[in-house]
């Protein structure tokens, strides 16, 4: 996992920072809430910038190193900004048997990005996940963590992607 190197200030960071403190409040001083807080923080900001990790470490009373250790352990967390829409292609067994490779290839061709990358216009991020629990509809992908698209065929994929502006 790579950290964002740029020095740019987050737009609206003050506001986000205030909201983040509200999230932290619920678990202040309780290290056991770390994963919950990180999950909510990522939901709020879209990824986990360094300033947020520092606030979380302070708020929960754990070291920044420990926070970083947890963030890099779990695949769900990202240290770099992502596109507006997250395309998660399932590479679980059921989907693999029924054509994950076709799905990835089609998306790569349509968007010109590899898994783990974001399009230059920040519209899409492509990632691979292990089973989204829609195995009955394999091959499947999930967009923005909520819209499951199943029984995918190469021709329909560009059309599906188009729906996410």
């Amino acid at each position: 996992m790579v950290a964002c190197e740029c020095k740019c200030e987050e737009p609206g960071k003050d506001e986000l920072s205030k909201q983040l403190e509200l999230i932290i409040d619920e678990y202040r001083g309780k290290s056991s809430g770390l994963i919950q807080v990180l999950t909510k923080a990522q939901e709020l900001i879209g990824y986990l910038p360094k300033w947020a990790l520092i606030s979380i470490a302070k708020g929960l009373g754990v070291s920044l190193q420990e926070v970083y250790g947890v963030v890099t352990f779990y695949a769900f967390f990202s240290l770099i900004p992502r596109g507006r829409h997250k395309i998660s292609v399932c590479a679980g067994t059921a989907c693999y048997v029924k054509g994950t490779n076709m799905v990835i290839k089609t998306i790569r061709e349509a968007l010109g990005i590899k898994p783990g990358q974001t399009t230059p216009d920040s519209r899409y991020t492509l990632e691979i996940v292990r089973c989204i629990g829609a195995c009955g509809l394999a091959p499947a992908m999930i967009i923005d963590g909520k819209d499951v698209h199943g029984r995918l065929e190469a021709e329909q994929i560009p059309e599906i992607l188009e729906q996410y502006a």
Binding site: Q36, Y74, A75, V97, V129, A134, I142
Partner: protein, 565 residues
């Protein structure tokens, strides 16, 4: 909830609803339309169907006479959106919003089923109308999924109408904690998370362990990629898990439970959260449950995408908000679990079995299944099989019955090649063993495992060497890196298989894989590493010819691998 009487009153008030859904005509209700709201049907846009039906109900002024309910997963995902209409029990599949008018105006109002939406068994001339007459359903036995086609998962009253929380009431008011443990022990229930450890023993160890407070935890990490049984239970009947955990809390003397659910299951988390809140409002969680002095509450913890967190010691560490790395056992969680305290950890499906055992008795449960594997097992059928989805069958049902009779066989007249059970810890079972009864021991003897219940069917378009590589890739990716046999050993195995699939295999590669496999199995720290070589070993055992073909002839019969000449 103050007493069993109070619970009985709620059940009484639901009698009318219960009757309709059991198939009895009612003066008050024309129809209860149960629409599957499992993930599969949601992806097939069942919500639009619900809207269209509601519109048609309104148009025809039937609001008072019909009820439309979004249930949990009904099982046959591939036929979605599916629905069942009670009291006549008609099953409709692949329903579209434009079918709504016919369903209401023809079926509900005039009693004429909409033939084009009925299920037709493969090869049958006539459709089958009633859900209970369809083979796919008829051959199943539902204990874990006893409620999913009948209730609104968000309605605690619906759950209570089907004897929900009666087992908890019975346990805390009429049984001693030891008696509850003894009952579960006697039932023969074994853990459904994969390892099959006797559940009652686990409870007994924890009850006897020194240290307090004690904890109850639920493993809802469902890491096997290709399995979705636990999800269907959490989404379709969350109260059954809550009730099971509360009963255990009483039995072992714990007041706090945790449910660990993976972040990939937002709907399961949402439903479970709603169910927990509702149970609190009804006093079925909280203080002094059934006026017995027993207190119990449950918190949800969200897993953030690490397969190893399904392993028990890793999961319990993850609950504490840390990196979910496993640690050596002993001590087992029964001695040292969450926060170092005695903890019972069971799988979602295991929990859902508890209430029926307490209510109907250990003997009833033990009468189902085989000698050493009691009760039922839920399987998620996927891959190259007609009826993909969720099924629940008695232990001892043969693979052939599951794949061909319930699962409807292989699509496009293709040849069955293998069924994979147990995910990355399991193995591939070939056609010659299709008559094996499914239980913990016989699957183990075949070099596979029962696993948590994922069953992926493969036909001749699947290359077994490629499948072995797929699982190794998964394990290499998911190894937490703490012990070197798993971190480095699986990587070496991957490199060898990768070479074979590219046409660069060498004489002796198969033996080298086997040797590495045995070393890793014997030396890895946790279950992940210890079982990681299984998919390779089982494919070598049953499909050695495919490996040899790749190595010697540079050929892949399934045309999956791109081999150099």
């Amino acid at each position: 909830m103050k007493s069993l009487d109070q619970l009985a009153k709620i059940k009484e008030s639901m009698q009318e609803v219960l009757k309709v859904r059991q198939g009895e005509p009612s003066a008050n209700w024309k129809a209860h339309i149960m629409v599957c709201g499992g993930q599969g049907c949601i992806s097939s846009n069942c919500r639009d169907v619900v809207d269209a039906i509601k519109e048609s109900i309104a148009k025809n002024g039937l609001e008072e006479k019909t009820k439309i309910v979004l249930t949990g997963c009904m099982g046959p995902c591939d036929m979605g959106p599916v629905m069942i209409i009670y009291p006549d029990g008609t099953f409709y599949r692949r329903v579209k919003p434009k079918d709504a008018a016919a369903i209401i105006e023809e079926h509900v109002m005039k009693g004429n089923p909409v033939t084009r939406l009925l299920y037709r068994a493969p090869g049958a001339k006539e459709p089958t109308q009633r859900v209970h007459d369809i083979d796919l359903f008829k051959k199943q036995k539902k204990i874990v999924l006893r409620n999913t086609i009948y209730i609104d998962p968000l309605s605690i009253e619906d759950y209570i109408s089907r004897d929900g929380y009666a087992a908890l009431g019975k346990a805390v008011t009429q049984m001693k904690p030891e008696e509850v443990v003894a009952e579960v022990k006697k039932s023969g229930l074994r853990g459904r998370g994969g390892a099959g450890f006797p559940t009652g023993m686990k409870w007994q160890f924890t009850a006897a362990a020194e240290g307090s407070p004690k904890y109850v935890a639920c493993n809802g990490d469902e890491g096997d990629p290709g399995a979705f049984m636990d999800r269907s239970v959490l989404e379709g009947d969350p109260h059954s898990v809550i009730e099971g955990m509360a009963i255990c809390g009483y039995a072992i003397g714990a007041e706090q439970g945790y449910v660990y659910v993976r972040a990939e299951y937002p709907l399961a988390i949402e439903r479970l959260e709603a169910a927990i809140n509702r149970a609190r409002e009804f006093g079925l969680l909280g203080k002094n449950i059934f006026s017995s002095g027993f207190n119990f509450d449950i918190e949800i913890r969200i897993g953030a995408g690490a397969f190893v967190c399904g392993e028990e010691t890793a999961l319990l560490t993850s609950i504490e908000g840390k990196r979910g790395e496993p640690r050596p056992r002993p001590p087992f969680p029964a001695q040292s679990g969450v926060w170092g305290k005695p903890t019972v950890l069971n799988n979602v499906e295991t929990w859902a079995n508890v209430a029926p055992i307490i209510l109907n008795g250990a003997d009833w449960f033990a009468s189902i299944g085989t000698e050493k594997s009691k009760g039922t097992k839920v399987f998620a059928l996927a891959g190259r099989i007609n009826n993909t989805g969720i099924v629940e069958v008695p232990m001892g049902t043969t693979l052939r019955e599951i794949v061909f009779e319930i699962g409807g066989g292989i699509p496009r007249k293709k040849e069955f090649k293998a069924v994979q059970t147990g995910g990355p810890s399991g193995g591939c079972i070939p056609a010659e063993h299709l008559d094996t009864p499914v239980d913990y021991d016989s699957l183990g003897a075949l070099g596979a495992i029962m696993g948590s219940g994922g069953m992926i069917v493969m036909d001749d378009t699947t290359c077994m060497v490629d499948i072995a590589k797929f699982f190794l890739d998964f394990v290499v990716d998911e190894s937490c890196g703490k012990c070197s046999p798993c971190r480095i050993g699986t990587k070496r195995m991957y490199e060898i298989i990768d070479r074979i699939t590219k046409g660069e295999g060498r004489e002796g590669d198969i033996e080298l894989l086997q040797e590495l496999a045995v070393t890793i199995k014997n030396t890895a720290l946790c279950g992940l590493g210890q079982t990681a070589p299984n998919p390779v070993l089982s494919t070598i055992r049953y499909f050695r010819n495919e490996y040899e073909e790749h190595i010697k002839e540079h050929k892949c019969a399934a045309k999956i691998c791109e081999l150099k000449e």
